[in-house]
Amino acid sequence: MAFELLQCHLRILFLWLVAMALVLAAEGGVLFSSLEETMVVTADIQGQNWTDGPRIRTARVGDDHMLIKWALNSTLTGLGVDREYTTVKIRLCFAPISQVERGWRKTNNDLRKDKTCSIPITSQKYTTEGNFTDWTIRRNVPGASYFVRVYVSDVNGTQLAYGQTTDRLKTSNLIIIQPITGRHLSIDVASVVFSISSVGALLGFLIAEFRRMK
């Protein structure tokens, strides 16, 4: 009897599942490949000088600031390219080397599913002269290789163009960020104390038990 009831419920659930599965999920986002690179972005770590050649810079979480400057590419000014540009979102993005074996940072052409630039820096209004921001690297930024990208979007939030500090292959001009460990002396001490207490309690009870057996 329980079985028949189960079967009946199963059939109902299965039909509902099929119905739900047939519902379209048409949620296509803007494709990255359709965006043009019209913005020029630079990111400097305060106190560090650039030199020409392969540039890989290191920044420490909590200590170092990043000065990020963005502006429309000077060759495109006055052409009306930025007619609909409203908002500029600046994001920290993972370089390919930090995406290896990490599906949660995967690049996807569909910007709704893209996880490359999952660390937001800030959002600013678009101006033709460009702008800058001084960003102290947040403490929950993981240790990895990064570049900075800006997305320009219109009034509705649809991305129209982008700019980034690295090249198309995302291998040059990377920034390595050194994270905090999250450990503190007090946590370490508490761990040791609790561990010793745990084993000590067991030994205490064992000794008491053996004494009682005798």
């Binding site: 990490r102 761990s191 745990s198």
Partner: protein
């Protein structure tokens, strides 16, 4: 006037013999526990309520061994119900600690710079340790009692939980998860304890409920850890990478606390603790070689070790990966992903006990063939729902499928242990232990094959895992009991239960009467013929077994 104890009390259980110590794991052996006589004779006075060693009457109706005849879940009567609650709660806490990392994985993986392979290795390590510790726990329970077995394991592995706060790299993470995973052996102490406290008629429910509620720990933790993490982040103001480390003190402290509570309030047997009782009575030491031989030459052991690996093993795998899966695939936040993941483990509240009940219902009607069909059907449905889970891309349907999947997979665990007690009487301990270990091996293998590499995404891994469940459940079709039949074949007319269980003893052993315990069991096992046969005979057998001044309520 107490009747003389039946001679079948001479048992093959001996202290410390590997394999013999795993009695109690399934809950159908307790009639044949080693003779543990109390220091003082406890001839229950007819008409007076039975009392324990200290003269306190039992609050539950008990049989002649002072094992409870009912399970009153909403009470904490000492010693039986208190043992029940301590037992399932300690098992639950160990599940909680073992799977405390997965719901926080999105934070931990960034702090420790883990990649998919590291996370996969840690998942494998978390269930691999228990493969060995479950086998050893039986021996420990025999020597020290289930109370010490459970609590010492919890107190020894608690430092590993605290060490999680010190980890800074992938290697440390894998090692810590490996050592924490040892505490999953509390499953054995939990089942052992239930079998010491509850009589045959109710021990199945007690064991199934204790195991199911214990497994729920893997679900509860997916709710609690993100919640604790958020409280620490927002109310205390720590940053992410510190908050998760502090959060790990919760499972650690709970584990120590419960370990100590079990030591203080727990009691091994209805009459007292092992240290208060003296072991007396004649014991026949069974030969470990023989017990081992009859286990490894019984093909059914391998089949059920494999199938348990694809119900319980899959359950462990899902506990490890599901929060991260929902976080990444459906873009949920940590708390929501944890809630969805928790629903999987929380189904254990009724799924696993219900699986045992369904198996018993099928057996009442169709006997062992019914149990086999029940087990195969439920586990295959689990595999199919796993396949669907890997395919479904919308959140709502995915949650529904997850719940269905959890029910089938956990019920399949319950049905498996409905069959195990009948595979062998002599080698029951080793077979039960091997099945349990097979569960963990299944978890290790599944995670290693499908969730360690990046060549395909997690949803495809889940799909393949579903296919593997269906394939690895097919061998159940080949399990044949000559006295009862198999899924597709009827029983052999010339073989009875007695023949089957006698065949584990050679002529010399039979002439010395060593097989008599098995014969009693064979008599009881006639219930596996189904409703048209021997249910009356089975009842008579059970009544014989419990005759010894049985106490009225």
């Amino acid at each position: 006037m107490a009747p003389t104890p039946p001679t079948w009390r001479l048992d093959n259980e001996s202290v410390g013999e590997p394999g013999s110590s795993l009695h109690g794991v399934t809950g159908h052996e307790p009639t044949f526990l080693p003779t543990i006589d109390p220091v003082h004779e406890h001839d229950d006075q007819p008409g007076a309520p039975p009392t324990d060693l200290k003269g306190r009457p039992f609050k539950l109706p008990v049989d002649s061994e002072h094992k409870a005849k009912t399970v009153r879940i909403w009470t904490i009567h000492r010693p039986h119900m208190l043992a029940f609650h301590l037992s399932w709660f300690s098992f639950m806490v160990c599940f909680f600690s073992t799977f405390a990392a997965p719901p926080l994985m999105p934070v931990i993986r960034e702090n420790l710079n883990l990649d998919k392979i590291d996370i996969g290795n840690a998942g494998v390590a978390s269930v691999a340790g228990a493969v060995v510790s479950r086998v050893l726990m039986g021996t420990i329970c025999d020597l020290l009692g289930p109370r010490f077995g459970a609590s010492s394991l919890m107190l020894i592995t608690a430092p590993a939980v605290f060490c999680m706060s010190l980890v800074t790299d992938p290697t440390g993470f894998v090692l810590v998860r490996f050592f924490i995973g040892f505490c999953l052996a509390t499953f054995v102490s939990c089942q052992f304890w239930m079998s010491s406290m509850f009589n045959t008629k109710v021990v199945g429910i007690a064991n199934g409920t204790a195991a199911g509620w214990g497994n729920m720990g893997g679900g509860i933790v997916q709710l609690v850890m993100p919640g604790v993490f958020h409280i620490i982040r927002h109310n205390i103001g720590s940053n992410d990478f510190t908050a998760w480390r502090i959060a790990f003190f919760i499972p650690g402290v709970i584990q120590v606390f419960v370990g100590i509570v079990v030591l203080i309030f727990g009691q091994d047997l209805p009459d007292g603790n092992y240290s208060e009782l003296k072991r007396k009575g004649d014991k026949v030491n069974d030969s470990f070689k023989k017990v081992f031989l009859y286990a490894v030459t019984n093909y059914r052991m391998y089949i059920f070790a494999l199938t348990y690996g694809y119900c319980f093993g899959v359950e462990l795998t899902i506990d490890n990966i599901i929060a991260q899966y929902f976080y990444d695939r459906f873009d949920l936040n940590l708390t929501t992903a944890g809630t969805v993941a928790a629903s999987f483990g929380l189904m254990n509240l009724f799924s696993r006990p219900l699986g045992g009940v369904l198996s018993d219902l099928a057996a009442a009607r169709w006997g062992m063939r019914g149990r086999l069909w029940c087990s195969w059907t439920i586990q295959t449905l689990g595999g199919i729902s796993c396949i669907i889970l890997g395919v479904v891309g919308q959140l709502g349907p995915a949650i529904v499928v997850l719940l269905l999947f959890s029910f089938f997979v956990q019920a399949a665990c319950g049905t498996t242990f409905g069959i195990i007690p009948f595979i062998s009487r002599r080698s029951l301990g080793i077979i039960s232990g091997a099945t349990g270990a097979g569960g963990n091996v299944g978890a290790v293998v599944t995670q290693a094959i499908f969730f360690l590499n990046s060549s395909y995404p997690t949803e495809r891994g889940i799909l393949y895992m579903g296919i593997m469940i269906v394939c690895c459940t097919l061998p159940v079709c080949f399990v044949y009991f000559p006295q009862w039949g198999s899924m597709f074949c009827g029983p052999s007319k010339s073989v009875t239960e007695a023949d089957y269980y006698k065949s584990e003893w050679n002529k010399d052993e039979q002439s010395r009467g060593l097989h008599k315990a098995s014969m009693k069991f064979a008599e009881n096992a006639k219930s596996e013929r189904g409703s048209q046969h021997g249910s009356i005979a089975a009842k008579e057998g059970l009544e014989d077994a419990n005759t010894k001044g049985e106490t009225a309520v």
